[in-house]
Amino acid sequence: MNDLSSATPAAEIAERPESVWQLRWQRLRQNRAALAGALVLAILVLFVLAAPLYEWAYGLDVNDTDLLNRFRPPSARHLLGTDDAGRDVMARLMYGGRISLLVGLFGALSAALIGTLIGLVAGYYRGRVEAILMRLTDGMISLPLLPLLIVFAAIDLQKLGFSEEFVRSPAANLYRIVLIIALVQWTTVARLVRASTLGLMRREFVLAARTQGAGALHILRVHVLPNATSPIIVALSLSVGEIILLESTLSFLGLGIQPPTASWGNMLNNAQELISRAPELAFYPGFLIFTTVIAVNFLGDGLQDAFDPRGDSAH
């Protein structure tokens, strides 16, 4: 009855040995700088995670001030000595690192989320919506970044209706930093995602779905987003470094993470005074920021090379 199998398809199926993701992973592995970056990052993450362990091992609390023991050099009790308020420097570096890394990661993720949403909507709906969103994006790109962040950071949240208690809480402080950074960083991802969406909407498998009457949600979720992940991932990894730098700058200026919560940036708050008294205290946090960012940049650069569409083999 059915002689359709005369085509012997079983023998014909050309087995491609690797998927696209495997190719990318291979390319990434060959990039030694990227691997070094990944290793350094792994060490740093372990370092900051070990904070409670360190406190327990040395019988300390990171917030203990001891004004009789300021600026002590490294000792058996305080591995890196004490700071200008008598607190253990090592513990502060570890906890500060958590904040800096968290802000970097969540800032990047939030920025990517906002940017992806805007890019998808602009690329899908076209027309007026796209024009408005793109003008908005272009407008934001043309703004001076740091001055704008400073203004955002200086805003009095109480004027917006938040209670005083909330405004002063460390949690609110953290959310605020992540939010304002996301608000200025989403533009790169938005542009990339819009470009991807525009290209994808024209492809025939999307047309096929539209002939079935598929709605925006289905098309964006099933067809556009999965095919747009590579530019998003690359943009995300490259922005983490930038965000860590932004947070540390803001905290240094006194506008970011507020003491007593430590962040590598605000540990440098009074650095210019420390320079003469105890220069190492200024050096440690700065060095850690530098190391983290350069590791992230090498890794992000490696990802970008690995995901380069010219390197992907054509179907």
Partner: protein, 326 residues
């Protein structure tokens, strides 16, 4: 006479071309992709639509499945204009009319496994639950002659011919009444083309489908078609039952297309004769009869007056748009 399944009446599809600069005044130029096309397809009938690249066949197909809005004219499904339908009726026609695209490398989402590619229309239309869809997927993959384990693979692991089979399986899923095949063989190797052609013919017979088969190749079409429509620069210039078109083409363009078919072992005509000149730009079609610049029979009246589709004198089922039709 049974009521036609699908009827096109005066269908016109235009594209507005973007202006060269935002400061230009007046309307921009208009690309007339499809102009005043009318034909119908009966249930179970196979209508072939042939013409050169760029004549508007793909645009017509896409307008039929709802991707482009008509500038003028009507598309009727079982008597009701698509634009006049309720949302529910419209949804139903989207199931009943399915499309197979030209490029098998582009019409399947590379990120989805074949099982999801095939069942996507079912998901969109909300047909059946998970288990039913899985069963249907197995059924469909078997119908197109691929093994069951193909369901777990990804499109890039298949050849062009196999991908086209997958596309056919996808189109069959919602149990359509009309399949629109837009040059389904053009991207395939010649040796594979006949396999896919046979497959389509068999499936059509088994499921009693209507088929709108679009191609630039008259030789391929000969196998499947009941009737053939010839398209030139967005217009139907001839429409006739298969035998009449191949044996006694009426419009000069159809005649030229037939002559261009390479035939084995016929001496001087074996390589086929090509049509002189190039296809004019659809942004600026010739006045009167669109074919007149390339037509061996052109007369002044052809430049002044556009001919309409009318039956040929002795063969009433054959229609041609020519002042000098045979």
């Amino acid at each position: 006479m049974t009521r036609p399944l699908v009827e096109l009446e005066g269908l016109t599809v235009h594209f507005a071309m973007p202006r060269k600069s935002t400061l230009e005044r007046g309307p921009g130029s208009v690309l007339q992709a499809v102009s005043d096309v009318s034909f119908s397809i009966a249930p179970g009938e196979t209508l072939a639509l042939v013409g050169e690249s760029g004549c508007g066949k793909t645009t017509l197909a896409r307008a039929l499945v709802g991707l482009y809005p008509p500038a003028r004219g009507a598309i009727r499904y079982k008597g009701t204009d698509l634009l006049a339908m309720s949302a529910r009726e419209r949804k139903h026609t989207r199931r009943a009319i399915q499309m197979i695209f030209q490029d098998p490398y582009e019409s399947l989402n590379p990120r989805l496994p074949v099982s999801e590619v095939i069942t996507e229309p079912l998901v969109i239309h909300g047909i059946g639950g998970r288990a039913e869809r899985a069963l249907r997927a197995r059924e469909l993959i078997h119908l197109v002659g691929l093994p069951q384990d193909a369901l777990n693979r990804y499109p890039h692991q298949f050849s062009g011919g196999q991908r086209q089979r997958i596309a056919i399986a996808r189109a069959l899923g919602p149990a359509p009444e009309l399949m629109v095949a837009d040059e389904p063989l053009s991207a395939l190797d010649v040796s594979i083309q006949s396999q896919i052609l046979n497959l389509m013919g068999q499936l059509r017979d088994q499921h009693r489908l209507s088929l709108l088969f679009i191609s630039h190749d008259l030789a391929v079409v000969h196998h499947l078609a009941d009737r053939v429509a010839v398209m030139y620069l967005g217009r139907i210039v001839e429409i006739a039952p298969r035998a009449e078109l191949y044996d006694t083409p009426s419009h000069p363009y159809s005649r030229a297309l037939i002559d261009a078919i390479p035939r084995v072992g016929q001496g001087r005509r074996s390589r086929g004769r090509s049509i002189p000149g190039d296809l004019p730009s659809p942004l600026n079609p010739p006045a009167g009869c669109a074919f007149h610049p390339r037509c061996p029979k052109a007369q002044p009246v052809c430049r002044n007056e556009a001919p309409v589709l009318a039956p040929v004198a002795t063969r009433p089922l054959q229609f041609a748009a020519c002042h000098f039709k045979e």
